[in-house]
């Protein structure tokens, strides 16, 4: 090759890749008018690309699809549960999870008997000896309030949910709860509550 200019080689590549700018194309054209080797190089590559693109069409032989289908492994004979798991992986995971959760939460129902209050509010009165929480009259408690193994007297206002686990809720006439209020006495309710808080992350600890 008589032309040693790398620059024009790059321009030829760019032209063939369709990445050349109009200015570069003009420059390349001007150069090729006087440089035979670049002109030859460019046209030879162009011809090869054209030939490849026009290459005689090749189609799959007859019965191709049929033969592929014959080669496929037999549908695996899966037992029902396995098939079920395959088809509904999310449901299966949820079911397994529920069973495990149920077990551990059940254990919690039987062993957790300590009085506990979960609340971000400072204006509640907590009587640990009597296992009682009071929302004083005229006070507003912001956020959710959870009482475990104790009772709650709502004389003021709670802006949020109130949950009483293994306890009673007493509402004074002036008492007010803006969110949901719930008493949990049964193990089933307890499990449901735990699952719900687990998934929604609502429980404050």
């Amino acid at each position: 090759m008589s032309c040693v200019s790398e620059e024009y080689m790059d321009l030829v590549d760019k032209a063939l890749d369709g990445e050349i700018t109009a200015e570069e194309q003009t420059e390349l054209n001007r150069h090729m008018e006087s440089c035979e080797s670049c002109r030859e190089h460019y046209h030879a590559l162009k011809e090869i690309i054209y030939e490849m693109k026009e290459a005689s069409p090749v189609v799959a032989p007859a019965h191709f699809t049929e033969n592929v289908m014959k080669r496929l492994p037999e549908a695996k004979k899966r037992s029902m549960p396995a098939q079920w798991i395959r088809r509904y992986p999310v449901l299966t995971a949820a079911a397994v999870f529920l069973i495990l959760m149920f077990g551990s939460v059940m254990a919690g129902w039987n062993t957790e008997n300590d009085f506990a209050v979960h609340s971000a509010a400072k204006n509640i009165k907590v009587n640990s000896a009597a296992h009682t929480v009071t929302v004083p009259k005229g006070e507003t408690v912001k956020g959710d309030l959870v009482v475990e193994n104790g009772n709650i007297n709502v004389e003021g206002k709670v802006e949020g949910n109130v949950v009483v686990i293994k306890g009673e809720k007493y509402m004074a006439s002036a008492g007010q709860i803006t969110g949901d209020s719930q008493e949990i006495h049964e193990v089933v309710e307890w499990v449901w509550y735990k699952l719900k808080t687990f998934f929604t992350g609502q429980e404050q600890k």
Binding site: M52, F64, R71
Partner: protein, 191 residues
């Protein structure tokens, strides 16, 4: 088209074999053509293309849908072809001459299929010659060249089929066509 493919893939995933038949019908020519251009032998190409589909079926759960199904299929097929070519290597080097007999039967078979007018015969010879030159390319250049010019893929698609960065793909295409040009020129001059 894409939504049809996706729906077929979903059906195959849930165990519908007939849906897979649909996918084979859609892609058989492309995959067979790629295999043929990669290995240069019709029987081997048929076997490889079928195997590619079988593997796709068996591993369908591994296809995540984060790129096109065809990209995944091409990847399986090119890998199978490259494996086959590597296994062949002990018999003869890729850089050595392709055994003349094999090429001759291959191309005479094609030519026998339907007689062509003279100028078309000449054109055909040129193309067959080109296929033989493609066959002589090292497989890494060959794959890139075929995907680009025979399968008409974008650099991005080729990059995800070959699992290589775009600039590497580009270099391989440049080097591949450069090598083809040199070989082709020799042939043209010898005539």
């Amino acid at each position: 088209m894409d939504s049809l493919i996706n729906s077929l893939v979903t059906q195959v995933k849930s165990g519908n074999r007939e849906a897979f038949e649909g996918l084979v019908e859609i892609y058989k020519d492309k995959i067979y053509r790629l295999c043929y251009r990669m290995v240069g032998d019709r029987h081997e190409a048929e076997d490889l293309a079928q195997e590619a589909f079988v593997r796709a079926f068996v591993n369908i759960d591994k296809y995540s849908g984060s790129y096109k199904f065809s990209t995944w299929l091409y990847r399986i097929a090119t890998n199978l072809c490259i494996d086959r070519l590597r296994k062949r290597k002990p018999d003869y080097s890729m850089d050595a001459e392709i055994p003349g007999t094999e090429g001759a039967t291959l191309y005479s078979q094609v030519a026998d299929a339907d007689p062509l007018p003279e100028d078309e015969v000449e054109e055909k010879e040129k193309r067959d010659q080109l296929q033989q030159e493609i066959m002589k390319l090292p497989e890494k250049y060959r794959t890139a060249i075929l995907l680009k010019y025979i399968e008409d893929m974008s650099l991005e698609e080729i990059s995800s089929v070959m699992d290589l960065p775009v600039p590497t793909v580009k270099t391989r295409i440049h080097r591949g066509r450069e090598a083809l040009k040199k070989a082709y020129k020799k042939v043209a001059k010898s005539r």
